[in-house]
Amino acid sequence: MKGHLDLLLLSVLRDGPAHGYAVIARVAERSDGHFDFAEGTVYPALHKLESEGLVVSDWSTEGGRKRRVYALSAAGGEALAELKAEWTRFARGMQAVLAS
């Protein structure tokens, strides 16, 4: 799970910019609640992706509350495609081994 958090975050940001709470909600919704992690550790992961140039962020104020909104950068889109291909190869290999 830990090693795949970047892929999950980039993947849900492909749907459009979102603040941290919405990003986590998207992951929970898409995984049908399967992924269980400390929500507070998602923010450092987003910060890391931002420092790597894979996401960009900016402050916005909604309902009087200040939030940091994250969006996928062009480099993030490319990284997502690579990570996704890597994961697909890995999953296919695992599936083949488990099925045999």
């Binding site: 923010y43 910060h47 890391k48 509350r65």
Partner: protein, 235 residues
């Protein structure tokens, strides 16, 4: 100003702040995002205890955030310098205080009380002559040696105290000058207390070990080499 002590989110943010490290901007960002997240969870109908449990304990979250803190090297160096300066100032200041105490004891009880030699210490005639020159009013060689050594103890220690005061002044000035680029806890919180403890304990341990080894060699005449030393209990 009033504080809502019963708000678990405020309490959580306080705890998180204590554990966070890095630039003020990084710390503020983590706290703002955390509060927004937790308030969003409450608005979504999640209870505060569950929202906090899902977010993770403050120590774990802070540890993850601190890995992204990236404290710039100049700030780290400044914090190290400030920590070293305050350690040196306090240490030298304490030595200075001991110098004044030695001077007080010298005045009250005489130089032998401060720097008198052990009974078995003797000096060569040449060394005695040197002491006589340094302490011409002393009655004998032992008194001259005690006078000279007491003067050394007091002078060196009080000088160390003066250097400590100067370093303390420099520390105040540097702290004011570098206030524009602070970093919250750029150094691990336990670093300065740990170094302070090591600096104060290690020299004592070394001198105690030296004393023990000296006492260990002080065996009763004729005793076997493997027998217990006479004064081993004094270690």
């Amino acid at each position: 100003m009033t504080y809502d002590d019963d708000d678990p989110i405020e309490a959580y943010l306080d705890e998180l702040l204590v554990h966070l490290r890095g630039s003020p901007r990084h710390v503020r960002r983590v706290l703002t995002e955390t509060e927004a997240h937790l308030r969003d969870a409450l608005e979504a109908g999640v209870g505060a205890p569950e929202a906090l449990a899902r977010f993770g304990d403050a120590h774990t979250v802070a540890a993850a955030a601190n890995r992204q803190a990236n404290v710039p090297l100049p700030i780290l160096v400044r914090q190290l310098l400030l920590a070293a300066a305050v350690l040196a100032a306090v240490g030298l200041g304490a030595i200075g205080v001991s110098g004044f105490m030695s001077a007080g004891m010298d005045a009250a009880f005489g130089p032998r009380f401060v720097a008198g030699d052990l009974p078995d210490i003797t000096y060569t005639p040449a060394r005695c002559s040197e002491f006589r020159v340094l302490a011409p009013h002393a009655a004998n060689c032992a008194a001259a040696a005690a006078r000279h050594h007491a003067d050394e103890v007091e002078t060196f220690r009080i000088t160390a105290g003066a250097v400590g005061i100067a370093i303390f002044g420099a520390w105040l000035a540097l702290r004011r000058r570098w206030r524009a680029t602070p970093a919250t806890g750029a150094l691990p919180k336990s670093l300065v207390p740990a170094v302070s403890a090591a600096v104060s304990v290690l020299p004592r341990s070394r001198s105690a070990l030296r004393r023990c080894s000296r006492l260990d060699g002080d065996r009763p005449p004729g005793s076997a080499s493997g027998s217990a030393p006479r004064s081993s209990l004094q270690c």
